[in-house]
């Protein structure tokens, strides 16, 4: 029952979020701030994780390639396909749910408990539109860039680890990366990313915006935001995969 109530409340929240901003100039200035907060500040963590996990994927694949019938470029192919299909869009989004989701929920939650949101409302500002829309748009616009960056670094990490371990040559690895490449997989990955970005920021904003109480409740709402957006990502991932790859 509570879940249904929350879904209804979340939907009503979205109707207030997606209204025309009072002043476009203020919206764009907030959007640029959010692109920095949500997007650019996530580049280091995404880069670091992608490089190392790409390296590990390549090493694990190479270590299991004992069958002589398998072509040597398989390592590159598996690194490419697992990175594009699942690792970059889904796993990196789950990591971003932790980083961005907790940040958004605690920022908005703190504004709620310190009456800053009430102050906006009393001034006649649509607080949901003012606070949440730039964050959602920043996530929708910048998450695909983060994921493309993650894909590139993950494959680069795979190459570096193979070179350091002397397990294959650059030519063979690149041949694997290019083998059976399906451009639609990029479309699939970026579509997922846009949906995940929207879910992470909107769900986290929901938990922050409707928090009641004090600092402990802000902390709890932040945790709840990360858990709920992670679950939403997993469910959306399953549905989108069914819709985009299997139908």
């Amino acid at each position: 029952m509570k879940l249904l109530q929350n879904i209804g409340k979340y939907t009503l929240m979205l109707t207030m979020v997606f209204t025309k901003p009072k002043k476009w100039k203020i919206f764009f200035s907030r959007l640029i701030n959010e692109l920095d907060n949500i997007g650019i500040s996530s580049l280091p963590i995404v880069g670091l994780m992608s490089t190392f996990i790409g390296g590990v994927i390549a090493l694990q694949t190479a270590s299991n390639m004992s069958n002589p019938l398998l072509p040597k470029y398989t390592v590159g192919y598996i690194t490419q396909s697992s990175t594009i299909l699942e690792f970059s869009p889904t796993i990196i989004s789950l990591i971003l749910a932790g980083k961005v989701g907790s940040n958004v929920a605690s920022e908005i939650g703190t504004m709620r408990v310190t009456e800053q949101i009430d102050a906006l409302e009393i001034m006649g500002v649509n607080s949901l539109n003012h606070l949440v829309l730039p964050k959602v748009m920043a996530a929708i616009l910048f998450f695909p860039i983060l994921i493309i960056f993650s894909m590139a670094l993950s494959m680069l990490g795979g190459w570096m680890s193979l070179m350091i371990s002397d397990l294959t040559t650059t030519e063979t690895y690149v041949l694997g990366l290019r083998a059976f490449f399906n451009p639609f997989h990029i479309t699939y990955a970026l579509t997922k990313t846009v949906v995940f970005g929207f879910l992470i920021v909107s769900i986290s904003s929901f938990y922050g915006y409707y928090v009641k109480g004090g600092s402990i409740n802000v902390g709890l709402s932040s945790t709840q935001a990360v858990v709920s957006s992670s679950i939403a990502i997993l469910i959306a991932n399953f549905i989108l995969t069914q819709l985009l790859l299997l139908s």
Binding site: E115, Q116, M123, G124
Partner: protein
């Protein structure tokens, strides 16, 4: 003028406000007083639309706020300034940006015009030159004054102050009370102050509403509160020996 007519409000089946009727007069400092948990903050939050009333009317110069759609309410809210109990300044913005915020949001002023207005408001609350400070760098009294400066930046018709003296020393409280009284007269606003501070009641109470058990229990001005025999008022306003003594001195003066 703000008029409250037959306002009732309950939370989860428990009634908090019972048939409140009152007129808050223009150009005067209107006080809402009462013990904690009697419903005065709830009444104020109903008046600014943070809570929906169960029934009744809230009229801002004959415009019924309770019947308005969100867009029309926004129009009224642009005419309201509010000083919150916790001040509610935007902590990531400087003093200047806080005061400028409503101006950038609702006016088409140029940067220069906004700067002039910010300087005027800061000067009005005796904080000239503090433009670039962040709220966290200001004392409690300064934050209250910045809150007042932000509240008056749009030349509001209605000013709400929720416990403006909470957490302040007596001397700063007097400064804040004086400031509220002066700007109310200067800008001819309808000012509503929710307070526990008995000094404020005596100093600035031009129209006082006493709420007890969620009901309008008594109303009058600062002179009539001295002479009233209402037992609830007496036990609330003149609770301490010191206040009782003040009351008897003031009554003696009158006779």
């Amino acid at each position: 003028m703000i008029e409250v007519k037959h306002v009732n409000k309950s939370f989860n089946g428990q009634q908090v406000l019972f048939d409140i009727n009152h007129q808050f007069e223009k150009g005067k400092v209107n006080l809402i007083i009462g013990q904690s948990g009697q419903g005065k903050s709830v009444l104020a939050k109903c008046m600014v639309g943070l809570y929906e009333v169960d029934d009744g009317q809230i009229l801002f110069d004959d415009r019924d706020f309770t019947q308005m759609e969100h867009f029309d309410r926004s129009k009224i809210r642009e005419e309201i300034g509010m000083l919150f109990q916790g001040v509610a300044l935007f902590d990531s913005l400087t003093v200047e940006e806080n005061i400028m915020f409503p101006l950038t949001m609702f006016t088409n002023m140029t940067k220069g015009e906004m700067q002039k207005r910010v300087d005027f408001c800061l000067d009005r609350v005796n904080l000239s030159g503090r433009n670039k400070l962040f709220p966290a760098e200001c004392s409690g009294g300064m934050q209250k004054r910045i809150g007042i400066a932000r509240a008056i930046s749009m030349n509001p018709k209605y000013l709400f102050c929720d416990e403006p003296n909470s957490g302040l020393d007596p001397k700063t409280s007097i400064v804040i009370d004086g400031l509220i009284k002066d700007i109310t007269a200067e800008f001819d606003m309808t000012t509503i102050v929710i307070t526990h501070d008995m000094n404020s009641v005596i100093e600035i109470g031009q129209n006082i509403l006493f709420i007890h058990q969620g009901k309008k229990w008594w109303s009058g001005d600062k002179d009539s509160i001295i002479t009233t025999d209402n037992p609830e008022i007496l036990s609330f306003v003149f609770a301490s020996e010191f206040m009782k003594e003040i009351r008897s001195i003031m009554q003696e003066k009158r006779t």
